[in-house]
């Protein structure tokens, strides 16, 4: 399983942590656009609908740590719902995306959060992203409402815009900061007190990738 915090020494003190992150949310809320912005710095006005789950990687530097995101951008369409557990089950982080101009997508996002809380790893870092905030004139979901919901469920929360790149990198960086970056030598459970091994202890310790 990919439930693994991999770190290895690189260039002196630098260590590399590898995290699996999954994007969930109703279709057409902008999951692929968010990732594409984060990974490639690009934005496609007419982003094609995702099939299955797309795979992307991106590396960010945090102080002395290099964090490599293994990103699974799942399809929002209902027919691909059965694939989602395959991707969130081993994930250390999830971004649940909704469209601020569409109240239904916010409800769907809540359902995803519930599903993650029930089915995913208990230590999964969940972020809630209210996307398309460049379209604030069409806003249907109030920022405060989402903020309150996020606080209740201890989720990271940001309103984002893949189009203008607002808060895109920030939300990924916030996740990276919140993820435990255990030192390989400390045996998996670092001072952060978060165990990544709980769901699948056989999936290797906190080191060696």
């Amino acid at each position: 399983m990919a439930n693994r915090t991999a770190s290895r020494p690189a260039n002196g003190q630098n260590k590399i942590c590898q995290f699996k992150l999954v994007l969930l949310g109703e279709s057409a809320v902008g999951k692929s656009s968010l990732v594409l912005r984060f990974v490639k710095g690009q934005f496609h006005e007419f982003q094609e609908s995702t099939i299955g789950a797309a795979f992307l990687t991106q590396t960010v530097c945090l102080d002395d740590t290099t964090v490599k995101f293994e990103i699974w951008d799942t399809a929002g369409q209902e027919r691909y719902h059965s694939l989602a557990p395959m991707y969130y089950r081993g994930a250390q982080a999830a971004i649940v995306v909704y469209d601020i101009t569409n109240q239904d997508t916010f409800s769907r996002a809540k359902t995803w959060v519930k599903e993650l809380q029930r089915q995913a790893s208990p230590n999964i870092v969940i972020a809630l992203a209210g996307n398309k905030c460049d379209l604030s004139n069409k806003r249907m979901v109030e920022c405060e409402e989402a903020q309150a919901y996020a606080e209740e469920n201890s989720l990271l929360f940001m309103e984002t815009s893949a189009k203008t790149a607002m808060n895109v990198n920030d939300i990924f960086l916030a996740i990276a900061k919140k993820l435990p970056k255990n030192d390989g030598g400390s045996g998996g459970n670092g001072s952060s007190g978060v165990s990544l091994e709980r769901t699948d202890p056989s999936s290797g310790g906190g080191c060696c990738k």
Partner: protein, 427 residues
Amino acid sequence: MNGEVLEGFLCPICLKDLGTITQLQNHFEEAHKSEDVAVIQHLKGLFEKAKKKFLNEEIVKDNLQTPINLSPKRIVNEKPQEIGRITSHTTFFKNLREKRIDAYALETNKLLLRLDKLIDDKAPMEPSKRKNYEKSVVPWTKDKKLTNPSFEPEGEMLGFRRSNSSGSLNSLFSSEGESHLRTCQRCSHLLERRHDQMETRNSTPMENFLYSRLCQYKMDAERQIPQVLTMAQSLRDGDETYSLQSAESERQKLIMIFDSIDKTSKRIATMIDEQNAGQKTMQLRRAIRQAAATWLQDNMLGLQSLPTREELDEIQRRKNLELEKRIAIEKDAMTKKLEKDNASKKVEIVVRKASLPNTKNMQDENGWKPETQVSDNDDPMLQQINIIKSYIKQAKQQCKWDEVHMLEENLNQLEKAYWDEKTKPFI
């Protein structure tokens, strides 16, 4: 008959000349009726043939025709000759052998039991008591009775022989306290035989030892060969994964192993036959050597030599040139494409570079996204499996090994999930 030749219609029994065939036939039937019927029949046949010959020479034709007529029939009817009667004496031999082995084992065991008793710590050490004790364990027999062991009665065969020259030596222990044993030839033979058996069982013959070493060398070589071949190929391809020096040392190691195989197998073939092992053993040793030689031939021929330092430099120089050329071509193509894109002013795609305060954190060039090739498939799981496979291909092409690993892991999960789904009993 003293050289005399009789001619005419002679009776074969009384040799009387009867003038004509009919007369001879009549005479024979009348005078010799009581004779053997077979003989008569035979003679009759002879007469018939003679008659034919005399009358119109038909017999010649007959003789010519007969074999021609018969030959195809004979070929058809002729079955492959079966093997004759076989008598197997193996069971008989085995029975005999078993009995003999049993007898030997029985006798030897009895002997050993007695020996055990004699050297038992509990046995009295005092000479007189000792003698009685020994006598109670083993009936003593006089020496002269034992001169010819084949005449020994069964019961005394295992007895310890009593010396009639010196009574004090009857004991298992001599006056000096050294242990010694007096036995009849038969018992001594049995004991020696057992000793030999134990020796053979516990000792490994030299050739076994050498052969197992030979096998070990072969295994070592088989492990080493691919390594050397990979290194040689890599050097020839101009890769810089291995240094010429390390390849040379690995190759040298392999050659040393080859040498050991050669030497060991030769030693087996030319081993001096101390135990008179016989024809078969010698044949086996030669076969071992032959096999080793063939193996060496097969494996050494495939072992290409390493490039020299000069050759290597040349290979690498050429490779670098090629690489530079390719990069130049790719760059050229890229510039052309960009120019073209700009010229056509693409409408639907707007690319904007993110402008963020924390861009310093990003390693944009590290962001990776494979192209998704959509396959026509109704099953989302199968579709996804195909997508991942195409991702893996792309990751491999771009030497994104981390990504290959992640994707392969996911592919495994998908395939397992798909399989579980398929094999799940229908509820």
